[in-house]
Structure formats: C-alpha cells, structure tokens
Point group: C2
Chain length 235, copies 2
Amino acid sequence: MSKGAAETMQRGIETTLLSAIVEGRLHPGSRLSENQLAEAFEVSRTLVREALARLEARHIISVRPRRGWFVNRPSPEEAAAVFAARRAVEYGFFKTAAPFNDDQIARLKAHIAEERAAIEQGDKAQLTFLMGDFHTRIIALSGNEPLEEVMRNLTARTILISLRYQSSAGALASHRDHCDIADAISRGDMDAAAELSLSHLEDVESGLLMQEPADPLVDLRNTLRLDPVQDGRAT
Amino acid sequence: MSKGAAETMQRGIETTLLSAIVEGRLHPGSRLSENQLAEAFEVSRTLVREALARLEARHIISVRPRRGWFVNRPSPEEAAAVFAARRAVEYGFFKTAAPFNDDQIARLKAHIAEERAAIEQGDKAQLTFLMGDFHTRIIALSGNEPLEEVMRNLTARTILISLRYQSSAGALASHRDHCDIADAISRGDMDAAAELSLSHLEDVESGLLMQEPADPLVDLRNTLRLDPVQDGRAT
DNA sequence: CGTACCAATCTTGTATGCAAGGCTTGCGTG
DNA sequence: CACGCAAGCCTTGCATACAAGATTGGTACG
C-alpha cells in the first residue's frame, strides 16, 4: 500500500475502466480519450496508453488508428461466439470440477444474497456487475486463477453485449437461474449445475434483441454522456 | 500490408515474441530487455513496452519493477491450474460443439500430416509449436474466435510449463493421442473426442517432472544464452 | 442552393530525455 | 579470510515534445 502508489496507478487505470464497463457506466461504443483520461487520473498519456493496450489485449476495448479508443461494440456474430465460448467454458468447468465444500458453498450463498439485496435496493450498477460476476466467482471459488481470468474477460464482453442488445429485462429470471445453479452446487450435483448453466446461457442469449440497433442514435447518446468517464472527479 | 507498416510493427513485436516462445526458442525465465528489443526491432522503447504490456495481460510474461521483463516461469501450482483450465475448456468445447464438416475434417488431417512431417524431419521448433497448436487449431476450425484466443493463451502457457518440467519426451505419444482425437472428430463422435482430450491432457500432465528444478542452474543457463532474443539480426 | 476543396484543430503514434531504484563489484575493515 | 559497505552502472518508470493523419467547419465556386 505504501510503496505501490506508482505501480498501482497503472493497473488502477485498467481496473477503474473495467469496473466502469462491467457496472454499465461505460457503454459499448463510448470513446476513451487519452487526454481526458490522463487529466482525470493526473498522469501522462503514456500510462493511459499502456492501460488501454492491456484492455485491448483482453478484447474489452479497441483502437482505430488515428481515430481513437472505443469500448467494444460486439457485432451479433461476435456476441454469438462469446456466448458459445461461455457455454463451453462453464459446462466444461462444472463437468471437470470437484464438488464444493461447505466454505465454498457458504461464499456462494453470500453472493446470492448480494444479488437479492441489489435487486431489492434497485442498485442497477451493482446488479449489472453482480449478475455477471456470479459466474466468475464460482470459478474463483474453485481456486483456478487462469480459468477465472478467462471467465472474467468473457463476462465483461457479455455485459457489453447485454448493454447493446438487452432491454434491461430478465434480471429477475437470471437471478432465479443463479439460485437454481447454486442449489445444484450445494447438493454436490455438478452435472446438474452444468446443464442448468447451459440452459441459463441459452435463455439469456435468446432473450437478446439481436437486430442491429440504429447506430447513429446509439452514437449520439454516447456522445452526449461522455461524462461518466470522469465520474465526479472533474476539475 | 501497404499502409500498416507502423501499426503492424507494434503487433509484430508481440507476435514475434510469442512465436519465439511457442516454438521453444525463448525459455521460461528468459529476460527480455527493453533496450535490446528496441535495438533488434529498430524502434523506440515505447513500442516495445506496449507490446510487452500486451503480453503481460495475456500472462505470457511479467515485469518485476525496476528489475526487468521475464518470460513466465510457471510454478507447479500454476501449471496444475493451467492444465485444469485446459481440460475444462477442451472438454466443454467438444461437448457443446457441432460435428465437423468435410472441409473442417480435411484441414484437421492436414495438421496431423504437418505434425508427422515435423517428427520425421526432426524439426524441434516446428514440432513444439504444432503440438500445442493442434488444440488451438481445432477450435479455430470451429470458427469461435473468442474461444480460440482463450485456447491460444492457455497453450502458450502450457508450452512454458513443458519447457520447464518436461524432458522433451512424449512427443510421439502426444502425436498418437492427437491422431486418436482427430479420428473421433472425423467420425463425428464429439463425445469420444471430449473424453480422449481429457485423458490426453491428464497423460501429458502426469508425464511432467513436477519437482521444482534447481533454480540457480536454470537461471545460469538462461543467462549464458541470452542470444536467441536477437536471433541473427544482431548489429 | 449544392458541392468541392482547403485549412484549422484535435486525435493518436512515436521518439527522446530525465528520474529513480536495484544489482554488481570492488574496496576497506574487523 | 569473511563480512559489510559504498560507488557506479544498468535497468525500468514516466513525462514531455514532436510528427502525422483524420475530422470538421468554413468558404468559394459552379
């Protein structure tokens, strides 16, 4: 904590941006200005660029040469591929993972409780984050860090897809699915969890409005609310 | 090809380094000097740093502040986790993927032929690359780019594990396994492919010498052969 | 009135220079 | 002879300056 102010900053930019995205405060297509970010974080563009490069390597954002950095706006094709990837990973995880112990089950139920609280309180940002993080946290609880990272990146992309194609509905249905999956895990029935996870993802995907939204409108909206980047720490 | 000389360079550094790693020319623990790389590629350190940052985001290399960049040297724990992740991903892929069509099968068999040729010609670098790329290419043939990327990163890390713990044996056994998996896919029996893939990975993992190698000796060897980085384009 | 062109401005791309910290190595001392 | 210490070198960390391209807005002309 004391020494790491410098080294932490670089990773802090990456984390802060990713948080803004997975909490739905940064929308697909949003422009990320190097200058604005540098000003907001009070560092030079060099640091910002390295953080952006890392996020690009994770397929969360992308750069168009001499144009700018943008939060990825997944195409229907990419969206389908990401969902297929998630199905493969989650199904494979449950099918090859050991049953959870009591401590892991307790932590899982704690997450479910968090989801419920966010729903009751209507905390939309927190809910957006939690609904995606559910799947990541399951793998995190298993202790497999590489797979957790994979899942974290895929869920981030899933959130971008949802923000673009979903009418913000289905949160309650998803929560119910999560409860069912958690129950299966609690029973030690990982096979059931695998199947439930599969159908859950299929339901979520088929609930999306997969027609390409009118681009100009989306771009305009994003242009008009560039502020969330600064997030209350404006000059 | 024509315009992209600049933008390509940045990605070219990343790709070149990754190729050197997955072909076994850069060993785990190797130091990657920003200055040497900048000289080798005839660019400034800025470009090199961004490429290195991207590779770090992919968990291929890592930086120790004020010390240097190093090719990752996976610990036994990390190695186990990476193998577990691969098992989950590959098993899940086969279990959720559609059977391959004739064209995909033909391309798959072409890869098998490449492996055989590399074995017969004793091209060790090519073989190291192909043995890992087999699994990535299967997913690539399915057309799922996100999962392909996941697999590419995991296999790169697997190669680092093999380079560190494997006595370079088992190539023939792995090739046989690959043939079996390809046969199952050709028959359209993806379930069999899933199971074969699982046992294949377990065999490979259990074939590793999982005791921590003597560190000083390894470091010394790597220090004495820093040259592969420059790869014949020295001043 | 519409269109084509041109310049100003803003964006990212890249190089360079300086700062700070760690490692090595040689020397001095107990 | 062993141990401690300090100076110099080499590394990365970061900021700044400059270069090149793209967009936008205005203007002149058909």
